[in-house]
Amino acid sequence: MNFDINSTPLDLTGEKYRDVPYEEKERLFNEIKADVRFHDVLYGCYECGVCVAACPSARFYDFSPRVIAQAVAREDVELVYTLMNDSIWDCSQCFSCDRCPRGNSPGGLITLMREVAVKNGLETAKEALEGYGRIIYKIMSTGTQVSPDMLQPNAFPDWGHHVNEIAENLDLWRRALPPETLHTVETGWSVSEKTIIELYLIWHMTGVMDMIKEIDEGLFMILQDVMEERLEDAGYDVLFDE
C-alpha cells in the first residue's frame, strides 16, 4: 500500500540550515530539554520503530517519530534543528506512539518542540500556522474553539452541499436544540462574561500572549484590543504588551 501521496522528502543533511549558528541551534535544543515535562516524554530510544508502525503521519509524510526521538536522545543538535523546522508540524498528535516500549511519548516530545518553535518565532512555525490564526483568535477570545458559524461552504468545500444546508439554516437549527447553552452561533456554547474575564487573566499570567506575538503580530494586536477592553470594563488594569 503506498499512501505517500503528498510528501516532500525531508533533507536530513543539515545543508539547508548551515547558515544558522550552532549556538542558536543549541540554545533552542536546551530550551526543549529545560521543559518540566521533558523527562516524562523521553527516556532514551531502542530504535525499534514501534512508534513508526503506529504512526498515521508516517504513512503519508516523510516523517518518523523514531528519528525525532533518536535525534533528541542522542543530543544531535543539528538534526534536531532540522526536524524542528521541517518535520514536527506533520505530526497528528494522536499519541499512538505512546505504546513505545521504552516509555517515551514521541508525540509529547513533539509538542514541546513545537512550543519552543512558536516561542522563538521560527519562520517554519509561522508557515505551518498560516491560515490557522482565526482559530487561535476564536479559542483565545471566546473560550470555545469551533463555533457553528464556522460551518460555511467556503471553509469546508470538501464536505459537500451538506455545509450549505447547515449555513442556510444555522440560526433556526441552533434554536431547535433543547439544551439552553447551545442556542449560540458565534461560540460553541454560551460562556458567561465572568468566565471569559478569568480566561483572559490566565492568558495574561501565563505569558501565552507573548507566544502569539512571536508567531503573528497582527493577531496579537487584534486580541490585545479585544481583551484589554473587556478586562478594563470588568475593572482590571491589564496590559498585554508590557
Partner: protein, 401 residues
C-alpha cells in the same frame, strides 16, 4: 489492504481470555489517587470527591475507578457543541430520562487542548490553569465534572500527571487561582462521558425500545481516550479479553448490537488537530483509506460508533470527498450517546440531531424500523413553530412530544 491477519474473531468469541488477570504491578505510574490525597493532606490542593451514587469499574491494570451516576457538571466540547450538537444533546437527554441531577454550565471554557495540539500556542501553566479553573467552577456548583470530549479527557489526565509531579507548576497554578478568587482543586477521578454511558449500560438496555440485534457496528476507540495515560481507561475481560478498551463496545453489546471487526482499529481517525483545519488532505485521505474503507471491506457495518468530537466529525465528513472519488464509503457515524438515546426511543432529529451529520443515515434508521420521512416531518413541524415565532426555542418537552 487485507494482508494483515489479526485473530479478532477468536478474541471476540472467547468471552474471557483464558487465565486473564489484571496486573497492577505493571501499571506505568503510581496510583494518582494516593498522590492526590497525600497532597490534600499536606494542604497543597483540595480533592473533589466522586459523589454517591457511583459505579465501580476497572481500568487497564486492575485499578477500580468510581463513575458518578449523577450530580454531574457537564464539561462540554467545542467541536461537538459547534458542529455535531446531537452528541451532547443525547448525553443530556439520557440524564433527564433517568432523572439524574446534572448541570450544563455557562461558567465553562473549552479545555483549549485542540488548539494546543494544533498550534502549540500555549504552555504547561496555561493548560493546567484552564483545567483547574473549570474544575473549581464545577466544585462551586457542588457537582462533579463529567468530560464530554475525548481530547479534553486525555489532556486533563496529562495535566493531572504534571500537576501531581511538579511542585513548581502547582505553586504557579495556585497563585493564578488566588488571583481569580479560586482554589487549586482537582477531581478524584477524571471521568469521560462514555465511561458514564458504559457504567449505566444495563440500565439503558432495560429501557431499550428499539431492537438493535440485527445491527452491525464498527467501533473507533478515540486515541486520546485510551492512548494518553493508558492506565486510566476502562478494560474488561468480557470485552475483547481486556486487550482493548471496553467503553463503547461494552455499551453496544449491552444493547444487543453486533460488533463488526476491522484490522485498523488502533489507527487514529485522521483528525490531526491542525490537519483537519489547515492540512485537510491528510485528514480526508487517512479517514477514508485507513478507517472507513477498511471497515467497509472487512465488516461492512451499518454504523460506525465512537466517543469523541474529532473522531465523529472526521470519520463522517471525510466520506463526502471519498464518495466523489469512488471510494468504498457510505457508513453513518455516531457517538455512543446518540446510539444509546436512539435505543431508548429518542427522536433522531430533535434529540440525536442527525441533520448535522453528513453521511447518509436514513438506511440505518429504516433498518431499525424508524421512518426517517415521518420523523423529519415532525422535526419540520417543530421548526415551523419556531419560524412563526410561536416559540423561541425547542424545549426538552418538545423533544419528547
Amino acid at each position: 489492504m487485507g494482508q494483515q491477519v489479526i485473530p479478532v474473531e477468536e478474541l471476540i468469541k472467547s468471552k474471557k481470555k483464558p487465565g486473564f488477570k489484571y496486573t497492577p504491578e505493571e501499571a506505568p505510574t503510581e496510583d494518582y489517587r494516593d498522590i492526590l490525597f497525600q497532597l490534600e493532606k499536606e494542604g497543597e490542593l483540595e480533592v473533589i470527591r466522586v459523589p454517591e451514587p457511583y459505579v465501580e469499574v476497572t481500568t487497564k491494570y486492575g485499578r477500580k475507578k468510581k463513575i458518578p451516576l449523577e450530580h454531574t457538571w457537564h464539561h462540554k466540547s467545542c467541536g461537538q457543541c459547534g458542529h455535531i450538537p446531537g452528541y451532547s444533546t443525547s448525553i443530556f437527554w439520557l440524564n433527564r430520562q433517568f432523572g439524574f441531577d446534572y448541570v450544563d454550565p455557562s461558567d465553562q471554557t473549552s479545555c483549549t487542548a485542540w488548539n494546543y495540539y494544533a498550534s502549540a500556542t500555549s504552555n504547561a501553566e496555561a493548560q493546567a490553569a484552564v483545567a483547574v479553573r473549570n474544575f473549581a467552577a464545577a466544585a462551586e456548583t457542588g457537582r462533579f465534572p463529567l468530560i464530554h470530549c475525548g481530547t479534553s479527557f486525555g489532556h486533563y489526565k496529562e495535566v493531572r500527571h504534571e500537576l501531581l509531579h511538579h511542585h513548581d507548576l502547582r505553586r504557579k497554578v495556585r497563585e493564578i487561582m488566588e488571583r481569580l478568587g479560586k482554589k487549586l482543586v482537582f477531581p478524584e477521578e477524571i471521568v469521560h462521558y462514555s465511561e458514564w454511558v458504559y457504567a449505566i449500560r444495563d440500565k439503558i438496555a432495560e429501557r431499550q425500545v428499539i431492537d438493535m440485534k440485527h445491527i452491525v457496528a464498527s467501533v473507533h476507540p478515540a486515541c486520546h481516550y485510551h492512548k494518553l495515560v493508558e492506565e486510566d481507561a476502562i478494560y474488561d475481560p468480557e470485552i475483547y479479553g481486556a486487550q482493548r478498551t471496553a467503553v463503547v463496545t461494552g455499551t453496544l453489546k449491552a444493547l444487543g448490537i453486533q460488533i463488526g471487526e476491522y484490522s485498523s482499529w488502533y489507527d487514529c481517525c485522521g483528525f490531526g488537530f491542525r490537519h483537519i483545519l489547515v492540512s485537510r488532505d491528510f485528514s480526508r485521505s487517512f479517514a477514508v483509506q485507513r478507517k472507513i474503507e477498511v471497515m467497509k471491506e472487512e465488516a461492512n457495518p451499518d454504523v460506525v460508533v465512537t466517543h469523541d468530537t474529532g473522531c465523529v466529525t472526521t470519520l463522517d465528513q471525510s466520506q463526502f470527498a471519498g464518495k466523489a472519488h469512488g471510494k468504498k464509503v457510505g457508513i453513518p457515524v455516531m457517538s455512543d450517546s446518540q446510539i444509546a438515546a436512539l435505543a431508548m426511543g429518542a427522536h433522531p432529529y430533535k434529540v440525536l440531531q442527525l441533520h448535522w451529520h453528513n453521511t447518509e443515515n436514513r438506511p440505518f434508521l429504516e433498518k431499525l424500523g424508524i421512518d426517517p420521512d415521518e420523523k423529519w416531518r415532525e422535526f419540520e413541524e417543530a421548526l415551523e413553530k419556531l419560524k412563526r415565532g410561536e416559540k423561541q426555542y425547542l424545549t426538552w418537552e418538545d423533544a419528547d412530544a
